[in-house]
Amino acid sequence: MTDANIHLLKICSDWILFVLCIVLVPPLCLGLIRKTKARLQNRVGPPLFQPLLDLLKLCKKGETISSTMSGTFRLSTVVVLATMLVLAWMTPWLSFKPWSPNADLFLIVYLFALARVFTLLGALDSGSAFGAFGASREVTLGLLVEPALLLGLVALGLFSGSSDLRLIFAYSHFQYLGATAVPGIWLLVGISILLSSLVELSRMPVDDPTTHLELTMVHEAMILEASGRNLAFIEFAHALRMSILFGLAAQCFVHAAAAVWCMSALTEGLLSIGGICVIAISVGVLESLSVKLQWRKVPEFVAYVVSMSLLAAFVAAGTGVARL
Amino acid sequence: MMSSIDLCVLCAAVLACLMVGSLHLRLNLWLYGAETLCIALATLFTAQSHSESGLIYIALLIAGLKAAGIPLFLGWTSEKLNVHRDVGAVIAPPLAMHLTIILLAFSFILTRGLPAPSMAASGWYGATAGISLLFTGLVVMLTRRLAIGQILGFLVIENGIYVFALTQTLGMPMLVEMGVLLDMLVGVMVSGLLVFRIQKSFEHIDVAQLTSLKE
């Protein structure tokens, strides 16, 4: 086999592995959270891939839509899913990834915004009060976490001197990482991304996605009118978003470790998937242990997240001086 | 050393001060006439000292028109309108008189600062009398409510300026002199006619009550 063939093979395997991850990791995450919660409640819980099966089942069902709705509703699902898939391709949420274009951090954040806008529009299209409640809260949460997420990523960008996430997460910047602050920044940003993803994904302690009171909920209220394949796609897109965000957080932690210990590509790959799983499990634990915050207290919670990012960003801005 | 001109004009100034003290129209008009006569006399003396014949005519005109004509006209007006006494405004007449006397002293000080008239016949006193008459006229205008009183005040101001010109300058051009006199006469006539109109429209000639035009 020539080098070119090997190269081609590598690309193919990367793609296959990556697509598998995109399909399997999101349901796995959901499954892990559910399983953890069930175990902590002394239940056996559903199988790990039950969410995947649920989605498949939903795909077979027929769809019901409201007569109030315009085309926006179904369009929104499509756009959200497509955006999430594109995001999954571009964002370095796994250490192994096929070639992807410039994943500028501002672009990524605004692509998330694109998905959010369409989710919101879909929710408002039915004319249902629940959808609007959910949308209104989602938009509030979006405002609160967006600066945190962006600043976290900017902090990373600052010490790698680029806003391209491919370069930031490239594992190739360690030559100048004599600065002791670097693992600290990675850790801080990781925590910040993790916490902001909890808000972004409307999970505990901001929102409890498992209650059945739609009045209080965020994401579940927004997708109340969705059914059948539509629902399946929305759920999948949401899970994918969760995996991407958890993946980014996990990557941060792995990089923090990589700044201290040298590790091979295989370890990194395993660690990145393992990290997502660990995060999913700990989210499960957290959801079992904590209670939902009062809605008015959410900004206070988010304040911690933002301050974490700010701290990281300031440290990064400060250490950047030595390098340049 | 006080010349006869100075004496005359100072007399006029004092008469004007006395005029402030009374609200009786008739008395005021008499005083004004006497004052103007003094000024006419001063003009005559000036004519004599400068040996200028033109001034003699002016003196005669003043004596005839201003000292006699105007008081008579205004007196006739007040008879016609049946007003004899002013009500007085702003400050009481005796107080106003004291004020004018203080102003007389003040104008004495004020005119010290002026350069001495090089060729004129009179010295400081002429300027003092002129400025003092000016101030007195203003005080009269400010303390009279009747239209006639205001005209009188204006006439006193005019007298003051004339005295100033007479004593401080060496003969204004005749043309100007005549123009001034003419303008003033027409002014008095026009205002006198207006006084009748005011009486007719408002049934009084109290100008302090003419305050409908304001912001």
């Binding site: - | 051009p173 100007v176 123009g179 303008d183 429209s201």
Partner: protein, 478 residues
Amino acid sequence: MQFFVSLCTFPILGAALTAGSARIEKVRRTIIIISWLQVISVAVLCLPVLLGNVSILQFTPDFAVDRIGAYFLMLTNFVCACSLSHAPTFFRNESLFAGKTVPPQHERMFYASASLFLLAMNFVFLSDNLGLLWVSIEATTLFSAGLVYFSRDKHALEATWKYLMICSVGIAFALLGTILIFASSQHGAIQGGSLNVRQLLGCAKQLEPKLLELGYIFCLLGYGTKAGIFPLHTWLPDAHSEAPAPASAMLSGALLNCALFAIWRITELVRLTEHHAICESVPIFWGALTALAAGLFLVHQYGIKRLWAYSSIENVGIMLVAIGLGSPLLFFLQALNHSVAKVALFLLSGNIIQYYKTKDLSQIRGLLQVSPTCGILFAICAAAVTGMPPFGAFIAEWLILAKSADATQGIAVGILLVALAISFVAVSIHVARVLWGTPKSEIALSGTFAKYLIPSLLCLCTIVLGLSALPLIMVKPI
């Protein structure tokens, strides 16, 4: 002699004719023709100066006209001709719209006093002697009293009385000032003294400074009263508001210029001496403050003509600044632009008062619906008079501001800018309320375009003054 003939014939003819027994319609027609003939005769008289062939035209020892005088002479005659040509229409409409009948003898009186008033004003610009200048100014007061008293009601009477009294007192001060200047000239400069402007200008440096300064102050105060400088302006809004519209137009467009011209004559003299600080900073700051005060007076204003009267005061302030800057051409430019627009405004306001039968600004609404032509002309003139580009007043004001800024009079520029802003906003709020909305009662209009003829002509003039090279030709030094 030719000078007196060409100057006096037409006004005296006019006065005599109106006092005669001709029918009122005939009088009306004649007065229009006479007023324009007067403009032509004055133009012919001043032609050499206007063309710049000679810098001064001496008629007699005491009568002469220089370039500025000629300009002002032309302006005054033009303004009066415009007002007098509009007056017949105005009086006709008075019975047509406002339902008031004007007795023909009152109208005759009006034309007669207007003619004499114009004559007096002409002498202001022609007299080359400070004493005669004073006499002419006093004469304008007396003749214009008849114009102010026109409507013969209580308000008019009150306004006339105040006008006469305050202006007379003021003018008396100016006389004192003139005498002081005369006295100052006797101190060695000229044997026997003189009031002749040319002579005085020739030996300005030898004049007794103390007396000259005092004379300047008294003249500024005296003529300032006549010009309506704050706080001596008190007679002005009353007189302008109570006089009939054509008379207000003449008072504002011509009379104020006369008084300011007198101030300029004195300033011109004092500038040549070594003690010229007083004739620079005092007029500049006083002018700026006058503009500011007038701007504030404009804010809460209830009478449509009082509004324009205060706006005139504001413009007087600006002209005073130009005088203080020692720039007669800018002073004239500002006067020209102000007069043209202000006359149009007063004439239009006269029409509006006739339509709505009230002077009260709060009652006048929806002019654009009542008469779009009148509304648009009104808006254009108001914009012109408040110094908006592209009208002429903007150019003049801008030149004055630029000159003051270059003369490091920053504070005055600041005050002027604030004043201009306040007055613009105040005027435009009032004007906008007049134009917009719907009229409170039904108003039916009839008649021809004649009632807008003169205003629209003047409107055109302001635009031409702003958008052509005309000001350049005027401001160009000889």
